[in-house]
Symmetry: C2
Subunit: 225 residues, 2 copies
């Protein structure tokens, strides 16, 4: 049995986990776990709640440990219960992975020292605070660390991981089953393609939430130093 566990925390960007979970759930012999401190429904960033399937205490040793991101990520950076769970699972996991700014939580747990990692573009520059090496790609692999970029990169990440776990032929079946032949309506999915004006507008809109998060990143980086 391949145990694939996603950390499910309050205000997670739910697509960070629901994208790759969709793909990985169809890998033969795979079982997807959503792991949190207890089994109460966890409110996602979209407003609806998802029910954890297991807890930190009851979770079996995972084959794949995955930390998704979102604005709620910041509250996990200094949560010793969460960080201990990640470190404990990470020791035995075959793959230690993340999507979006979930890589910062792995970093805060001290699990990305001198590892290359992906991250959401707007959060990528914080990776070095945790000793990690940011890479501007959709999917990044460094030894047993595999990471996806921002949000929708979780689907590319999920397929890459499916190929790793079950072979390329299986991953191709899944890409066909999920009709993954994307046609983005615009060509602005990276800051480079979007251009300075769009990037500036988004940064301005999100500035208050980044300021809050930055304080917590700072605190976590100092604690780990």
């Amino acid at each position: 049995m391949i145990h694939i566990g996603f950390l499910l925390f309050p205000k997670v960007t739910q697509l960070d986990l629901t994208g790759p979970a969709q793909i990985l759930s169809r890998v033969p012999d795979a079982r997807v776990h959503l792991v949190w401190k207890d089994l109460q429904p966890v409110e996602t960033d979209v407003g609806f709640s998802i029910v954890p399937t297991t807890t930190f205490d009851d979770c079996p040793q995972l084959t794949v440990l995955c930390v998704p991101g979102g604005f709620g990520m910041a509250q996990q950076l200094n949560d010793e219960t969460t960080l201990s769970f990640l470190r404990r699972q990470g020791e035995g996991a075959k793959y230690v992975t993340s999507v979006c700014n979930g890589s910062l939580v792995l970093g805060a747990a001290g699990m990305l020292q001198r590892y290359k990692s992906a991250c959401h573009w707007a959060w990528r520059d914080y990776l070095p605070r945790f000793g990690a090496v940011p890479v501007a790609e959709r999917v990044v692999r460094d030894r047993n660390r595999i990471s996806g970029g921002g949000v929708t990169a979780g689907i590319d990440f999920g397929l890459a991981l499916a190929a790793e776990l079950a072979g390329e032929a299986q991953a191709k079946l899944l890409q066909l089953a999920f009709e993954y032949d994307p046609k983005p309506p615009f060509d602005c999915g990276t800051p480079e393609k979007a251009g300075g004006e769009l990037v500036a507008r988004l940064r301005e809109l999100q500035a208050p939430r980044f300021r809050q998060a930055e304080a917590l990143i700072e605190q976590a980086a100092l604690a780990g130093a």
Copy 2:
């Protein structure tokens, strides 16, 4: 307030709804509802459960009605409670939409007669049983019906709908925020690109579930004839 409601039914392919819900939840003044018969958690195809936010009885008039798909779709085709809810909401909704084979449920409710519609490629040929005109595109619009193709097409659909609801500039911001610059690992996301062998293998794997569904499609088509 823009009320965007997704039908949340057992064994839904959860990415069909979690993809577009992610995007549409960030449209200004939008509120995402997950609607089901009661408020108990609903088990998705991945195994984990999502909690409905409202019920058929309590749901406000939706601006956007959206039916996702999945193998669980087949049980909805002959469920008069579900179909009545869709018809009632469809009368007042500004947009009547679907992702994946959710279009078959709209069809069974009699809501796609002489409308062009998208559908998951493997289910597309059933659309004419409900008087709908299948179109092999990621996002299809016909009057106020907007539909997405299979599973991951829900993201393209979500961005197209965001542009419709809030303008192109807003949709571009969202595409950047969700870093939607896809890089599929393989080039096999449609049956044409995947080729006959891969398509045949997937059809063979899924044949038992399709046979079950076909009987229910047949029943619904006869009931609506």
